[in-house]
Subunit: 246 residues, 2 copies
Amino acid sequence: MADQQHTAGGSGGSRPLWFTPPDGEQDRRRTLTRERLVAEALAVISTGGVEALSMRALATRLGVVPGALYRHVRSKEQLYDLILDSVLAEVDRQADHSLTWAAQVTALAHRLRAVLEQHPGIAALLKTRDPLSPHSLALAEAFLAPLHAAGLPERQAALAFHLIYDYTLGFALSDPTSPSEQRIQDPATRRELHAFLRSLPIDRFPALTALGEHVWADNRDERFTSSLHTLISGLQAAHRPHQAGQ
Amino acid sequence: MADQQHTAGGSGGSRPLWFTPPDGEQDRRRTLTRERLVAEALAVISTGGVEALSMRALATRLGVVPGALYRHVRSKEQLYDLILDSVLAEVDRQADHSLTWAAQVTALAHRLRAVLEQHPGIAALLKTRDPLSPHSLALAEAFLAPLHAAGLPERQAALAFHLIYDYTLGFALSDPTSPSEQRIQDPATRRELHAFLRSLPIDRFPALTALGEHVWADNRDERFTSSLHTLISGLQAAHRPHQAGQ
DNA sequence: CTATACAGTGAACGATGTTCACGGTCAAAC
DNA sequence: GTTTGACCGTGAACATCGTTCACTGTATAG
């Protein structure tokens, strides 16, 4: 690591007093690797969201010219693939086998949501791909294992996986911190919105005027928890069809 | 509609034989309106998806220079807003009051999905916005009305709305016809994928090897219908908590 | 010691969203 | 009936983006 470049200054090493070559900068050469690309890209995303990630920004952050990135990554799309896999690797897939399958799946969904919301804009990318990267497959396995072990029929287990996985992704996707565009977040505009909803013509929007404030409430956590519960209780109802009518 | 421009050629109308002014082209002036922008943009999206919609492409389609669009639309983002509202207007919101609230909501969700999938890429846009456009509000009303009429408690009705609406959007978002990037669609690659799933190490991916083929099956319609059913039966279970225990 | 594969450079290409001074046309005001 | 002014589209430019490519130096293998 601390190997000096004697040939950098010229021939011998007889005059380091007058011109010391920039030691640190030499190390940067050859150290640009795929892992560093992904790591730095994730850092950019964590601060500025996925829209702040441009090849040029990433390159300058790595002290490199934009074209250099294409030695390690075929395209930006491929970089996205690597990033997504790296993000999914952060999800703790360990299951507590003493819990119900429902509880296991619920816990996993919560962890997935947490990781996704730590990387603003990532969920949107994930939605455009089939989960076939290494850590995607591992995550799918982690979701499917409890369902399989619980004895759900094959098709039903697959449907349950899709339902839970897709819903979690979709929920994380609508995180207001990611695009920060047109979503309500600060309480002031929310109050303004509530006032607007109340002011709607009650004959044309009876349900909205009555329920609007609850629909646009600031309760993302409650919504996720409750929805997940609803969803899984629906699955359970299908699993053991007691009074299965219709 | 058929009003000729007498002054176009110069002073009088005495010599249409020798130089006929390009009648059709004159009409193009002053006829560029917000509605035409949106309509033509939707046409572009229907053919090439949302990624094919660039301001330049839209402008040339309208026989106009790119900058001209900004007389009618403040930005592309605003154009998206108009497009989304126009798409949501296509959803038939009429309810059949002889049906259960569950059946009404289900039918509406199906219609929403159908409209969204007719405009590839639109669902992704919709997810980044709060549904506050005129037709968004009307659609929300259409979803909320049956829930409200059924006597669901306010918070529960709001949660139910979010659950169904978000799920439908998320489902339409993962339509393989939209981004046509990295998703499995043709049967050949699907068979290849199934073979790959079977070839996974069975000790590390027991559930995936067993259920993988069902997870990546070609059954979008079945998945949507079944998921919606599951989801609503979960809502019903919460509505009348018979044996509600945990 | 020489040859070769390779990583990073610098510059360019094409496409994107957006802005702005300019000119022409239509409709209202005097 | 002439003039004024608002408005709409033009043409050209700017900044930024992803991506490509000939070139150059370095490190490693023969």
